[in-house]
Amino acid sequence: MVRKWLVSLVLILGSMSSAWAVDETFVTISSQSGTQDTSATAPVLGETEGYIQALEASQGALQSSRTVDLSGFSLDFYRVHGASAVGFEVKLQRYDTDYLFANGSRVSLSVQQFLYGVNAYHRGGWWFPFIGAGSGSVYGKVSESLTINGTSYSATTYGQVANPYFFQVGVRFPFGPFGLLLSRQYLSATMQVETEKQPLELGGEATILGVSLMF
């Protein structure tokens, strides 16, 4: 029975291509900023991290917030089918932050998130709510300046999360060729930090505001 339903679903979706009239394709460029809570685990996608916890065991409690300031831009193009639309988005986001520990040790983190994925829109007139999901690559540079048993140690490790996953919900408010963007992004990008051989979450949950230009 399940197989029949799946076959039917595939055939129906396959035949939708000729049933839906194509209206127009829009391209949107957005400048974005927001905050990303890197201690939050993306629902379903997120993995357990252990790097910060391992350092807290040797360096004392983390004194800094794990919420970072995120900035970036995106290119989004989508094709409209009546009141709905399907599109593709590419976005580049970055942040820099320092994590300070109770004994004065510091870990500096520099992260670039190159993400891409598919969005599905509802064109509701004055607002376009959307959901989306995708992947990409996330680059992280972790610079440690630690004090261990009275001796200073330093290390810089690089990493690239080749299989990050994200999903997002959001809404666009169009004002002619301009627009406002509000979205909530859930990103799982866990980098293995080889000094501690523990994973560190570079992603998390982000709230993003943006302004956009549509053409």
Binding site: T25, F88, S152, T157, Y158, A162
Partner: protein, 398 residues
């Protein structure tokens, strides 16, 4: 009773009719799928730039490249020639000037990769000054309504090349110091020299200063099957299988471009059209038959965007990520400040992490002639990736 029997017979007839219609629907759907796949498909453009990884150590292995989900129409043949010129410079001992041109001129030994106390350093060390040229002859043919077969024979050259001065000038222009890690410590070495040294845990696994000239590497075959051409909602989806034949002759320098192992790979390919824009995505894995002390597999993932100015001209932007050819090691990553022991890998290049490149280029079609032109730039700045690639491909199709 008669009415019950007639009712049962009627239900049986209806059931048989339903089964027949289901079969017809499925068969017809599949047939339409297959027939339309061979023609101009709605989620096909000119396709991504098919540039494989060019890092010198990967040249001996099978690799995947960005590729369209579409297959050639049945009976159509395309003969292609491509050339990728890749410049790579990695000096893991450049941080404190342990290896400079003077050291190279004397001939590198394992001692040049030891720490200041004369200890062998765990992990990999590289002095890699290579400009590679990979010439590839390719034959592809559509062998069914949604299926394609291909054969590739590559020829590889390693030399000092001629791009070093241009790359260093560009570094200077955009404010990257050639005396620092970001500039790969290029300033410590002469330009357009060739040296190929890879060390692991204190022992060379590759050491060579004799250039290679058009050495035939190992051939590979592929088969691509388009499962669906997709629609306005669904993307086109294809599965590609590839196999590289290992050769036993790895004498002399041949070992630099022949692994000797049988590699095989699979890759899922997706393509979606949004009017003038096309988006491609692919994910795959290569299993290496003979690792030669390196990684046992290479994972690949790419995203490509094509903008079609017209039917015969497209602009492409691509990003590709791959896992490292270097396997995980016991390299000492955290050093006491002021310590002269331990390695430099951690200060220069974490070699075993994945890397990424961006590719920008164009595709042109004039009748039967296909021409691609592109450049590739690494942006992760790790020591397991090329610095810069110039790529061109010419093909004839009929």
């Amino acid at each position: 009773m008669q009415q019950v029997l007639e009712g049962n017979q009627l239900r049986c007839k209806v059931m048989r009719l339903k089964r027949f219609l289901q079969t017809l629907f499925a068969f017809g759907g599949g047939l339409c799928w297959a027939v339309s796949a061979g023609a101009e498909t709605r989620n096909a453009g000119l396709g991504p730039l098919e540039i494989r990884p060019q890092f010198p150590l990967t040249q001996a292995y099978l690799a995947l490249s960005p590729e369209t989900a579409a297959t050639l129409p049945e009976g159509t043949v395309r003969y292609s020639y491509s050339l990728a010129v890749a410049n790579t410079f990695v000096n893991t001992q450049g941080g404190d000037g342990q290896i400079t041109q003077e050291t190279v001129d004397q001939g590198l030994t394992t001692a040049d990769f030891q720490d200041d106390q004369g200890n062998d350093v765990p992990g990999f060390g590289l002095y890699l000054d290579v400009e590679s040229q990979r010439h590839t002859l390719q034959w592809r043919r559509g062998i069914g309504p949604a299926s394609e077969l291909g054969l590739e024979v590559p020829f590889v050259s390693f030399s000092g090349g001629s791009m070093d001065s241009t790359i260093e000038s560009v570094h200077d222009l955009i404010g990257i110091s050639n005396e620092k890690n970001e500039g790969a410590y290029r300033a410590f070495s002469d330009r357009n020299q060739y040296a190929h040294y890879i060390i692991r845990d204190g022992a060379f696994i590759q050491s060579n200063e004799e250039p290679l000239n058009l050495v035939r590497a190992e051939p590979s075959v592929h088969w691509k099957w388009m499962l669906t051409e997709g629609g306005d909602v669904l993307p086109a989806i294809s599965l590609k299988l590839a196999y590289k034949v290992g050769e036993t002759d790895r004498s002399g320098n041949l070992g630099l471009v022949r692994s000797g192992g049988n590699d095989w790979a699979h890759q899922w390919l997706f393509a979606k059209r949004f009017d003038g824009w096309l988006v491609y995505f692919g994910d795959g894995l290569v299993r290496l038959g003979e690792t030669q002390g390196l990684a046992s597999f290479l994972s690949h993932r790419f995203m490509a965007m094509e903008y079609r100015f017209n039917d015969g001209y497209s602009f492409l932007f691509q990003q590709a990520s791959q896992s490292s050819i270097f396997s995980q090691t016991d390299a000492t990553l955290r050093l006491a400040d002021g310590s002269s022991t331990g390695g430099e890998e951690q200060r220069n290049a974490n070699l075993s992490v994945p890397s990424s490149v961006i590719m920008v280029g164009q595709k042109v079609v004039w009748g039967r002639l296909h021409w691609d032109l592109a450049i590739v730039q690494d942006y992760s700045n790790f020591g397991n990736e090329v610095d810069f690639v110039v790529y061109s491909k010419v093909g004839l199709q009929w």
